[in-house]
């Protein structure tokens, strides 16, 4: 029989080399662009600022950057996400000019220059049909540790509690766990979610659930008719107003960080981002401007 394999063994070396040559043709496609990389990097006509970090801040920073670019048409600001820790490492090793950090800085991050950008409160939310109107700190800790498993133990109906927690690494989780002095590995969650909007959607879709999200996001969604309720904390109402006047205990400051004291256009951008010229943008994205 005319065997494929027989032919192969004879012609294999030749054809292999042909095949490799064919594959090689596709290689130069990306490489042919590499001179452009150099041109871009060396081109002083188009200064570029890279901002990386917290996904919570990225949409806000993107809008601030666009407004700043209007005043500086030659400038390009690239905003990239990836989390607060990424913001810290990127600005440390020079991958970005400015980092975005949505939590207070840790002691070993004191080498970075920090600039408060806005404030954000984290609050507990339950479904609006849930009769429970407030929880003490002990009750919240007990629920999140899995010791309290039924709403009737905290004054609600006889229904099991669905505990909604944030994924490890999310700064909202750090704010929440830090406030309640709750080690994150002790949290017994039924549902683990990533972002604020996902938290709101999860709680709005489950009568028995409890979760925590940014107050700005929660307030916006509640006012838009999403069936959720913001629980007060230690008797203080959870609202943008109480975060703004500093009375709401579970809140965080959103920071911009740089490796060294910013100069030139980077300095200008930070000045602009922390000025009252962007307060409308801050409010529009459900954060609280720093007065």
């Amino acid at each position: 029989m005319y065997s494929r394999d027989g032919v192969c063994s004879i012609r294999l070396p030749l054809l292999l080399s042909l095949c490799l040559a064919g594959c090689g043709q596709s290689g130069p496609a990306p490489n042919s662009n590499s001179p452009d990389v150099l041109v871009l990097k060396q081109n002083p006509v188009h200064p570029q600022i890279t901002v990386t970090g917290a996904s919570t801040i990225a949409p806000l920073m993107n809008e601030i950057a666009k407004r700043f670019e209007l005043q500086h048409p030659e400038l390009r600001i690239d905003v990239q996400t990836g989390g607060s820790s990424r913001g810290v490492t990127d600005s440390r090793n020079g991958l970005s000019d400015i980092g975005m950090v949505s939590r207070s800085l840790k002691p070993d991050e004191s080498d970075l220059q920090r600039f408060p950008l806005a404030r954000d409160g984290v609050c507990l939310i339950v479904h609006s049909d849930n009769p429970v109107t407030s929880l003490t700190d002990e009750q919240v800790v007990s629920i999140y540790q899995g010791k309290t498993r039924n709403w009737k133990d905290v004054g609600g109906p006889d229904q099991p509690i669905t505990v909604v927690n944030k994924a490890e690494g999310r700064s909202t989780l750090e704010v929440f766990a830090g406030h309640f002095k709750l080690p994150t590995n002790e949290i017994q969650a039924d549902v683990v979610i990533g972002d604020n909007e996902q938290g709101v959607k999860t709680v709005a879709g489950n009568l028995q659930s409890i979760g925590y999200v940014s107050i700005g996001t929660a307030e916006f969604n509640r006012d838009a008719g999403v069936p959720i309720k913001l629980l007060p904390l230690a008797g203080i109402e959870a609202s943008v107003k109480t975060v703004n006047d500093g009375t709401f205990p579970m809140s965080r400051t959103l920071h911009l960080v740089t490796k060294s004291k910013p100069t030139g256009i980077v300095h200008e951008l930070i000045e602009f981002a922390t000025s009252s010229k962007v307060h409308d943008l801050v409010k529009e994205l459900s954060f609280v401007p720093i007065e």
């Binding site: 005319y2 494929r4 394999d5 032919v7 192969c8 012609r11 294999l12 054809l15 292999l16 095949c19 064919g22 594959c23 043709q25 596709s26 496609a29 990306p30 662009n33 590499s34 452009d36 990389v37 871009l40 890279t50 996904s55 919570t56 990225a58 949409p59 806000l60 993107n62 809008e63 390009r76 690239d78 905003v79 990239q80 996400t81 990836g82 991958l95 990533g194 972002d195 604020n196 909007e197 996902q198 700005g216 996001t217 916006f220 969604n221 838009a224 529009e284 994205l285 459900s286």
Partner: protein, 301 residues
């Protein structure tokens, strides 16, 4: 007797029921997207009084497809995002098609099933196909963005996607090549076709359905990819000026709108609708092309 009749009935119901469920899920998804997403295409309130004319709606859709996003994506459109997505796919496909077809041809035409190199390639492809996309993202970030110095760019994103899509294309193209019966190869050889004439005139045309299926799978995976692109092509929603600019893909835009932007739901749904329509269009075009290829006359070599 009665039991077997009832079992038969039950099986009938199952066999008829399952496709209905599958089709129903698709229709449900589509209608949900259309219902929620089409709100973004409704003409503004300033034109009240005049009933929704088709032209006004078309105008609105066109505006959504071409305008730049405003207010963190809650307003405006997805013009730059569509362009970025197209450029990422172009980079991806221009790398994947030659390498993919070359490797598939190597695996099916040049080496036997027992060949060591062939087995190694196949094994690695199967492993690659199972690697989660976030791993590709981190790999792409380390290799293309940092090591090769592309930074956050469309090139880096496209190349990362290429790594993800290659296994899909290669395996289905290989299946396509293998589905061509050996008798055809023998016939071609008997007619004095050279090896490469056989490949280009006989095997490639006959295996187009497999190749196209692989391409669709690949394009679909590339279009839907979020995690890998977040770390490589990036988040910038400006109109890209070159392949070295960072550009936000449609899937990242949908993710960001639905997850990080309060009130971004409506435009997230509208963007998702665009994404699904794009996928359907790609699918239809691919089928049309396959049909053409298969019914083309084979001319003499």
């Amino acid at each position: 007797m009665a039991t077997s009749r009832w079992t038969g009935r039950l099986l009938d119901v199952c066999v008829w029921g399952t496709p209905v469920i599958v089709a129903g899920m698709f229709l449900w998804l589509i209608s949900d997207l259309i219902l929620r997403g089409s709100a973004a295409f409704q003409p503004g309130t300033e034109s009240t009084g005049a009933s929704y004319s088709l032209i006004a709606v078309a105008e609105q859709i066109l505006r959504f497809l071409t305008a730049a996003p405003e207010r963190a994506g809650r307003g405006g459109g997805i013009g730059p995002i569509l362009v970025s997505t197209g450029m990422i796919l172009a980079v991806c496909m221009s790398v994947v098609v030659p390498i993919g077809l070359g490797t598939a041809m190597f695996l099916s035409e040049l080496v036997s099933d027992q060949n060591r190199l062939g087995r190694l390639v196949r094994r690695s492809l199967d492993l690659l196909a199972g690697v989660p996309s976030i791993v590709f993202g981190l790999f792409g970030n380390a290799v293309f963005c940092q090591w090769l110095g592309f930074r956050y760019s469309i090139v880096a994103g496209g190349l990362t996607l290429a790594c993800m899509v290659l296994p899909l294309l290669i395996r289905s193209a290989e299946e396509g090549f293998r589905s061509v019966p050996d008798s055809q190869r023998h016939a071609a050889a008997a007619l004095g076709f050279s090896r490469w004439s056989t490949v280009f005139r006989v095997i490639l045309p006959q295996s187009t359905p497999g190749i196209v299926a692989g391409l669709i799978l690949g394009l679909g995976r590339a279009l839907a990819e979020t995690a890998a692109l977040l770390f490589t092509s990036g988040y910038v929603d400006r109109m890209p000026r070159s392949f070295l600019d960072s550009g936000r893909s449609l899937s990242i835009h949908i993710y960001d709108l639905s997850m990080n932007v309060p009130g971004g739901n409506q435009n997230a749904h509208a963007s998702a609708l665009v994404l699904v329509v794009l996928l359907i269009l790609i699918n239809l075009t691919a089928h049309r092309l396959t049909y053409r290829f298969l019914h083309r006359e084979v001319r003499y070599a």
